[in-house]
Symmetry: C2
């Protein structure tokens, strides 16, 4: 008698596919990070930050650490959004105590000189890390790949570093929209290939981080954020049919409804300042919602943490929810607070 | 025969009172500022920044400068939101090339030790500057007073300086909500007295700047932003019946509807990233809208500026609109671009 093997359920992937789960699946942005002593130990022996990203065994190891410790429902591959400019020939340096540094890219000539195709060798260790992670991972745990959205990656490329308001990229886009469009196009095409290959290497779903989507007026948001993400979603699905994709247009407020309609993502990650009624009515009726605990409440702990966790569950638990933070976990977060959060979410 | 003298219409005040004006009245946040050579000339001879704020003749002079040059529909008294902590005994220092500095206020004991009443002598020059400005101002021009919202002022007091994400005040509020509430209360009470006295000294309306409202989760937004602003609105109107009040909860996205309902303001100033349909439906049906040109579009000039001006007019010109920027004008803005903006707004 023939029998079929049912693959084990993945709660997070189920939510992306339309199911509601109680309790909700849970993971944390930047969960492989400096708040974990076992991460700091690997980080020290890895050399530079990019060495850690580009050494598959080490990247897989730190990706798995928070799963072993906390039993999260998703592992997200350890990497950085700036590997894409790196693969486009823009050297990225991570210096201790500072954010990332690149040579500023702020002329039409420099953008025209970018290579047509990203350097495949740059990405190869990321794909290998995904394969290693998938092989070691409990089948019930969803493995996530990711990239930065073209707009957010471009803000770093243009300025050469992080800025509070992304004025350099915003100004460049106002002054030289055609050149900026060429940069966004190059990043969009590279991101399609990169995310599709991550899925082919073992990622179950991917997330597109648009950390700086919230600084743009609606016209510019539509052009530089929503349209490129839509192209990525369509391009990835053309290569990997049915690919599950989470968008994270941080800080866009009421433009979130627009983002969902325009991009076709399966879920949106929301920041901690999102308005719950708006999200329930305009977003969660269409896609799954991921978020949105304030990382500072997680540092604070105690009653403030409990109340903040309850707010997330009450605000969004009636629909499709993936419990997460509203932004990355911070290095000074006590591990006991993460444990407390998990007990409260899982009941 | 007796005859009544009709006071001249003030287009901006009319909009606050329920009228729609075409073209809309226009002014710019931070319009008395370093982009103007005549401002820089006064600033140089004034000594420190606070000396300029607290010398009535000079404060009135720089308040009037942009009205003379551009014929704006409103003058906003030249001052700073940190005069309130100054009047509560917290020395505020403005050092060249840096933002403001205060001694951090981050214990319950320090907050309990704040004086019950602000030092009236600190505010007296602001009231005198308002009287001088009003006397010199075209009666058709609306004179605005202002203060910072308690939350935003508290973020500077707790941290001692500006921060990108207001983490110090947010964390203090999570960890010591009662002490933080005492600080917010003190600021709220002081702001009521301060705004009412500004109106009595000649201001036609007042604006409450909550620059950092957008960093808070909904529960904290309701407690630390919306509730104190409501108390200020009610307290000011108890002292000055019918007082017209503009709120500016910057960056709150879809919480803007909530803000309008909770606070009772007559208008809201909106940042450049606000979603137009949401604002039209949830905000402009109830109150006037002020905004929201991206200050970077004003620096960029040319087609980018024209299109950005047209977007504001198209997005909000069908209702009650006060044309303004989405945030303060920046020092490097060319004066010719301001003139171009005005021609386009006024047709």
């Amino acid at each position: 008698m023939a029998f079929s093997v049912t693959p084990p359920a993945k709660p997070l992937l189920d939510v992306l596919s339309g199911a509601r789960r109680v309790p909700p699946p849970v993971w944390m942005m930047r969960q492989a990070g400096r708040y974990l002593p076992e991460y700091r130990a690997v980080r020290e022996k890895a050399g530079g930050f990019l060495d850690l990203c580009f050494t598959p065994e080490l990247a897989a190891e730190v990706t798995l650490q928070p799963i072993r410790r906390f039993g999260f429902d998703a592992a997200i591959i350890f990497s950085d959004i700036l590997v894409v400019p790196h693969a486009l020939g823009r050297a990225v340096r991570f210096e201790a105590g500072e954010g990332p540094r690149l040579d500023p890219l702020d002329t039409a000539e420099q953008i025209a000189a970018l290579p047509t195709r990203a350097d495949a060798a740059t990405f190869a260790p990321v794909y290998e890390a995904l394969r290693l992670t998938r092989a070691a991972l409990d089948p019930a745990v969803t493995l996530l790949g990711f990239c930065g959205a073209p707009w957010t990656v471009a803000t770093y490329m243009v300025a050469g570093h992080g800025t509070p308001d992304q004025a350099p990229a915003r100004m460049f886009a106002y002054r030289e929209p055609q050149a900026f469009a060429a940069l966004i196009d190059r990043l969009t095409e590279t991101s399609i290939d990169y995310l599709a290959a991550q899925l082919q290497a073992g990622a179950d779903a991917v997330q597109i981080f648009d950390t700086w989507a919230g600084v743009l007026p609606p016209r510019e948001f539509a052009r530089w954020c929503a349209a490129p993400v839509r192209r990525i979603v369509e391009g990835v699905r053309a290569k990997v049919p049915g690919a599950k994709i989470i968008g994270f247009p941080r800080g866009v407020g009421a433009l979130l409804g627009d983002f969902v309609e325009r991009t076709g993502v399966d879920a949106v990650s929301i920041d901690w300042a999102a308005e719950p009624a708006f999200v329930r009515e305009r977003v969660q009726t269409r896609v799954a919602v991921q978020g949105n605990l304030d990382p500072l409440a997680l540092i604070a702990g105690g009653d403030a943490l409990d109340r903040a966790v309850d707010d997330v569950l009450e605000n969004f638990g009636t629909g499709r929810l993936i419990f997460n933070l509203g932004h990355g976990i911070q290095p000074q977060t006590p591990i006991a607070h993460v444990e407390r959060m998990l007990r409260r979410v899982r009941g």
